[in-house]
């Protein structure tokens, strides 16, 4: 179904084409009931204060396809709890009917057919329209727009403008407050310049100057406390006081290169956060205290349990699009509501608060999927995006190959697009084994669609894209796999970094997520079936090294070369491990056994 047909079906085509930019024209009517979309964006405001939230858009300015995971395992006491429910289990838990637009938005089920039926998601022009509508319908016609970060990275134009295109887009969108993660993969001066150019406020209580940087008087928001950025901000919403504390990704200098930001040190800093919350409660006495977080949902859930005084944690990082919030009872007997609002521009969260008597009396939360074919474009944003892309358009729109399969990344172990990357690196680098990072961003491609440079950059666009081909022993390989696996499956969320497992090509292995660190990975074998010997050397290729710059070409050049020579891509199976001890876990479905 194309946009025209879709809008005709909804009976709103005439309005949308004549008044693009007027978001309210997207309201369902007539035949929309057939698609179940008639009430999608239709909800009366509740209470007296409206917050809007998104996370992890990864610089996706245009509408995309994005397949949700079929593997998102929760282990230990997280097993079977949000966000670790996939497919039908998630629908069952949240009461979403199968086959509805919501079911498509929140799960991988029947992805290809539903993506063809309902079209692309997200895009800043459509998001802008929806945000305008949600603002206009908010109390006093206002709303506070919050962004959990991973906004300045993820596309070719974001990389080439060093995040500036996204700062401009966020200014147009009217983002009021943000925090960050991939924002910190540019150089320190570039980050400062972007924060300066951003019309909203960039907040982070957990980014501080290192002792060395403080000693040498490196500029900071607060020289005495060492906060590199403003830790929190206070806003009045129609006479109601709301405080928003920022929590940047705590493990940025570990998961990403510290060499770009040597003066800053991160960490969860739960004790300092509690001290800050106490100080704010004592001195500012807000009616609502919000943590705008890039911790990842498991870390947010634990943080909610071990702190007190935080009313809401609006989170991101692990890309969990959760249709319902999780309410956590904390040590002091209070409650903290934790949400996570998905990725790639696919969702907008609407949090309506009833504030009064010095507290949050009640709330309503909705995570709205952004079905781009249903929402009209905001013309100003559309023009801005066109202008941003214009200088790079011929490069971005080059068709490298055509896909015969659904290509995607998201999932704990591997995705079909990861397989393409690994296959390409092995072919071009003449290697035996490929390692590719388990990022959670990266858009999806439908069968028959071209794999353009745009789509390839969606999967690879980072500031440390250099590849390597080098000899590595079986022992080293095991060490890497074990290390990354512990980042994913350590039973204590505070020791998790929030990425998925490193993707492998040319080899496979058996994985027991429940085992201890050092004992999860076994039976590492080459694709030939030959066991990988700890003492033997193998020719391994990879990219995204954090310690130092790798010597080879950027990964997108390597994979583009492979795609141009292949012309068509078909992926029937991916190198994902045989799993132990996950039978009955509702965080896994449709996994090859």
């Amino acid at each position: 179904m194309d946009r025209r047909e879709f809008l005709r079906l909804l009976g709103i085509g005439a309005i949308a084409s004549s008044a693009a930019g007027c978001a309210t024209s997207g309201r369902g009517a007539g035949a929309a009931a057939k698609t179940g979309l008639e009430r999608m964006y239709d909800a009366a405001a509740f209470g007296n204060t409206r917050l809007l939230h998104f996370a992890d858009c990864h610089a996706q300015l245009l509408p995309v396809y994005f397949r949700e995971p079929n593997v998102n395992l929760g282990i230990g006491d997280r097993k079977g709890k949000l966000p670790h429910l996939v497919g039908e289990e998630l629908l069952k838990f949240t009461g979403i009917a199968p086959g509805t637009p919501d079911a498509h938005a929140f799960t991988y089920l029947n992805f290809e057919a539903e993506a063809r039926r309902l079209g692309r998601v997200g895009g800043f022009a459509h998001m802008a329209g929806l945000i305008k509508q949600m603002r206009a319908e908010g109390p006093r016609g206002e709303a506070l727009l919050l962004d959990s970060g991973d906004t300045w990275q993820g596309s070719g134009t974001a990389l080439w403008t060093r995040g500036q295109d996204m700062v401009g887009a966020c200014n147009l969108l009217g983002v009021d407050i943000m925090t960050g993660h991939w924002e910190f993969t540019y150089l320190e001066d570039e980050i400062r310049a972007n924060v300066e150019a951003f019309n909203g406020e960039f907040v982070a209580q957990n980014v501080k100057l290192t002792d060395d940087a403080a000693f040498f008087d490196v500029p900071a928001f607060d020289e005495v406390t060492g906060h590199a950025f403003k830790p929190y901000t206070t806003r009045m919403m129609g006479g109601h006081k709301v405080v928003i504390i920022g929590q940047a990704f705590p493990y940025t200098p570990i998961a990403n290169p510290s060499r770009f930001i040597p003066n800053w040190t991160f960490g969860i800093r739960a004790e300092e956060l509690q001290a800050l919350v106490d100080q704010i409660q004592d001195h500012e006495d807000p009616e609502a205290l919000i943590l705008l977080s890039h911790n990842g949902m498991d870390v947010d859930l634990k943080l909610a349990a071990v702190t007190s005084g935080i009313d809401f944690i609006l989170g991101g990082h692990t890309h969990d699009g959760m249709p319902v919030p999780t309410i956590v009872r904390n040590a002091a007997g209070g409650r903290t509501v934790v949400t996570n609002s998905g990725s790639n521009g696919k969702f907008l969260a609407v949090l309506d608060l009833d504030l009064g008597l010095g507290r949050v009396r009640d709330f309503r939360y909705r995570l709205l999927p952004i079905f781009s074919d249903l929402l009209p474009e905001d013309t100003e944003m559309a023009a801005y995006i066109q202008q941003v892309r214009a200088p790079y358009l011929s490069k971005l729109e080059e068709t490298l190959a055509v896909s015969e399969s659904v290509l995607y990344r998201r999932g704990n172990f591997s995705g079909t697009f990861d397989q393409v990357i690994c296959d390409g690196m092995i072919a071009v680098g003449d290697a035996q084994i490929a390692l590719s990072p388990g990022f959670r961003w990266g858009t999806s491609v439908l069968p028959g669609d071209p794999i353009t440079m745009d789509r390839l950059l969606d999967q690879t666009c980072i500031t440390y894209p250099e590849t390597y081909v080098r000899d590595m022993t079986g022992e080293e390989l095991k060490l890497i796999l074990e290390d990354v696996c512990d980042n994913l499956f350590n039973p204590d969320p505070f020791y998790q970094q929030g990425g998925d497992m490193v993707r492998v090509g040319g080899m496979n292995y058996v994985c027991d997520p429940l085992a201890r660190m050092g004992e999860r990975i076994s039976e590492m074998r080459l694709d030939s079936g030959e066991l990988i010997d700890a003492a033997k050397s193998y020719k391994v290729t990879g990219w995204a090294t954090v310690g130092s710059e790798a010597p080879g070409a950027p990964v997108w050049d390597v994979v583009a070369e492979y795609l141009r020579s292949e012309k068509t891509i078909r992926i029937d199976a991916v190198n994902s491990p045989v799993l132990k001890n996950v039978a009955g876990n509702p965080g896994i479905s449709s996994y090859p056994s």
């Binding site: 501080k208 100057l209 002792d211 403080a214 000693f215 040498f216 008087d217 020289e223 005495v224 406390t225 060492g226 493990y251 200098p253 570990i254 998961a255 990403n256 510290s258 040190t265 991160f266 960490g267 969860i268 004790e271 890309h319 990072p437 388990g438 990022f439 959670r440 961003w441 060490l479 890497i480 290390d483 990354v484 512990d486 980042n487 350590n490 505070f494 020791y495 970094q497 929030g498 990425g499 998925d500 490193v502 660190m517 995204a544 090294t545 954090v546 310690g547």
Partner: protein, 148 residues
């Protein structure tokens, strides 16, 4: 609070006197620093491994080290009569990372940077009024990368 260069220079004059103290006067616990296990460290330092975990000892250390070669930690205690604060990294080849002798009236709060070879429990031991108290925390040392 962070130590800035300005603050350092202001404080430098006061510290000079302390730095002049002859090393011979400070009993350097060579045997403890060379010990190969936590138990040996405890025996060499305190003549006992009989230590009680205590909420009155506060160890601040990162959950995951940003750089295993320089891991910032701090230890403080609300106990009276603190004579010594020591830091043990269980998995290091030489587990004793630091040992502070405190004079009477000194505030029981120290901070330093320790070196860690791999993921390990870090134990802060406080000797107060002749008894041993501790707090511990696992600090993970990772090869990094592959985060999303």
């Amino acid at each position: 609070m962070k130590l800035t260069r300005r603050m350092f220079i202001q404080g430098a004059a006061a510290v000079t006197a302390l730095m002049a103290a002859p090393r011979a006067l400070l009993a350097w616990p060579e045997k403890a620093f060379k010990a190969g296990s936590s138990d040996e460290v405890m025996q060499a330092l305190f003549g006992s491994a009989d230590v009680t975990e205590s909420g009155s000892v506060v160890l601040n250390a990162p959950d995951i080290a940003e750089n295993g070669r320089v891991v910032p930690i701090s230890v403080s205690s609300s106990l009276d009569g603190v004579e010594n604060i020591s830091v043990i990294v269980v998995e290091n080849p030489s587990p004793l990372a630091a040992s502070f002798d405190l004079g009477p009236g000194a505030s029981a709060a120290v901070s330093t940077r320790i070196k860690m070879g791999k993921t390990s429990n870090v134990i802060a031991v406080v000797k107060a009024d002749g008894k041993l108290y501790s707090a511990q925390k696992e600090v993970k040392v990772t090869i990094g990368g592959c985060g999303g």
